[in-house]
């Protein structure tokens, strides 16, 4: 096989990690091979934090996922803390009665310097390895990583001024719509999302205000959500990321929740968390994405919910006629809670 990415040395392993995560990390990185996700978690700074650290990562690699091998790479200036975390985590994973993955190598990385804590060897990351990994991942269409996790937050900030000026009129327009007009508006949203997928044509300010004005409705969200898939997630993250940057604060939460969903489906857990952190209050979609992230659910598993429901189309059509008024009545109600047991009010609704 000639088109494999060659990770045959510590340098190449270290150089590959920012491309895998999307940013240059601090903390513990568990790089999985042979299935399962790659994980990043802060290095614990107290015994209580160490217990939680070991519980979280043991659950991921001993119970929820079963990779063949996990390489442990601890990033930080605090060598003692990094080595202690490496040793404790390595012990937790290999002492699992044969249920755990192979573990190794175990590396402490401080800047460009690495130390193999099992072999006692040291080295400096070869710039050539970084260049090679950059080229390899670029060939796979991966976006170049940002310098720090915090840069993911900065990338979600923008200027909402232009859309804010247009938003009141867009919201008034939505409120004046009858059922048929709202259905047409939802159809326009779906078509506009499809157009973006084909042409990458970003929304004008008027279109952005129009989308943001309708997205508080479950019907509009459903039209957007049902276009999600793991395959489409990267493109839809561009769409919703653009809206998060341009949205006024009062309508930004839903765009951030949509970005969290597309990021999660794309396998980018850090970006999904950062999007969720943008929300100002609880949101039904963001609450579900949070649960999926917290449970370390593989997005391929949750993607099943996005497959067409064989009964969905006729039910959706029938529901359309009696839900818009219902929707309006509930616009000022508190939405149903973040529980996952299906309890609480549920719209049946594709209306706005």
């Amino acid at each position: 096989m000639t088109n494999v990415i060659k990770i045959g040395s510590h340098d190449e392993l270290i150089a590959s990690i920012p491309h895998t995560l999307g940013f240059t990390p601090q903390g513990m990185v568990c790089r999985a091979f042979g299935g399962g996700p790659t994980a990043r978690l802060d290095i614990p700074e107290s015994p209580a934090e160490m217990d939680e650290f070991l519980r979280l990562l043991s659950d991921v690699y001993l119970h929820q996922h079963h990779p063949r091998r996990v390489a442990l790479v601890a990033y930080g200036e605090d060598g003692a803390g990094c080595v202690e975390a490496l040793a404790a985590l390595g012990e937790a994973l290999v002492s699992a009665d044969g249920r755990g993955p192979e573990v190794g190598p175990m590396l402490w990385v401080n800047g460009e310097q690495w130390t193999d804590v099992l072999e006692g060897t040291r080295g400096t990351v070869d710039p050539g390895a970084r260049a090679r990994m950059g080229a390899e991942f670029a060939l796979l269409g991966r976006v170049m990583p940002v310098d720090r996790r915090e840069d993911l937050v900065a990338a979600m900030q923008g200027d909402p001024t232009a859309v804010a000026q247009l938003l009141p009129a867009a919201q008034a327009r939505i409120l004046d719509m009858d059922v048929a007009s709202r259905r047409t508006e939802v159809e326009w949203l779906g078509e506009r999302l499809d157009q973006f997928g084909r042409e990458r044509e970003y929304l004008s300010d008027h279109e952005a205000a129009r989308v943001l004005a309708m997205m508080h409705g479950s019907g509009a969200r459903d039209a957007a959500e049902t276009r999600m898939s793991r395959e489409r997630a990267p493109i839809l993250s561009e769409f919703w990321g653009d809206l998060v940057r341009r949205a006024p604060s009062e309508v930004r939460d839903t765009a951030a929740a949509m970005l969290a969903l597309s990021s999660y489906l794309d396998g980018k857990g850090a970006q999904a968390w950062v999007a969720i952190d943008q929300l100002t209050e609880s949101h039904p979609l963001a609450d579900l994405v949070t649960i999926a992230l917290e449970r370390a659910i593989d997005p391929r598993e949750l993607e099943r919910a996005f497959r067409p429901d064989p009964l969905g189309a006729p039910m959706q059509h029938a529901a359309l006629h009696d839900t818009t008024a219902h929707q309006r009545r509930h616009d000022h109600d508190a939405h149903n809670g973040p529980g996952v047991d299906g309890a609480g009010p549920e719209s049946s609704a594709p209306g706005l």
Partner: protein
């Protein structure tokens, strides 16, 4: 101001309703970042690691 769940959100909620021993895995301020590579990238990395 938010409202009720969409159809897909209800399906997601049902799918997430199954009991999980990992519930509230990262409760509190700890955010565990998990990255799932696409199949093509994962396959290439795994292929090399077996060589």
């Amino acid at each position: 101001m938010q409202n009720t769940r969409s159809r897909l959100e209800k399906r997601l909620a049902r799918q997430l309703a199954a009991p999980s021993r990992l519930a509230r895995l990262t409760a509190g301020s700890t955010s565990l970042d998990l990255v799932y590579l696409d199949e093509e990238t994962q396959d290439r990395l795994d292929s090399r690691s077996r060589e």
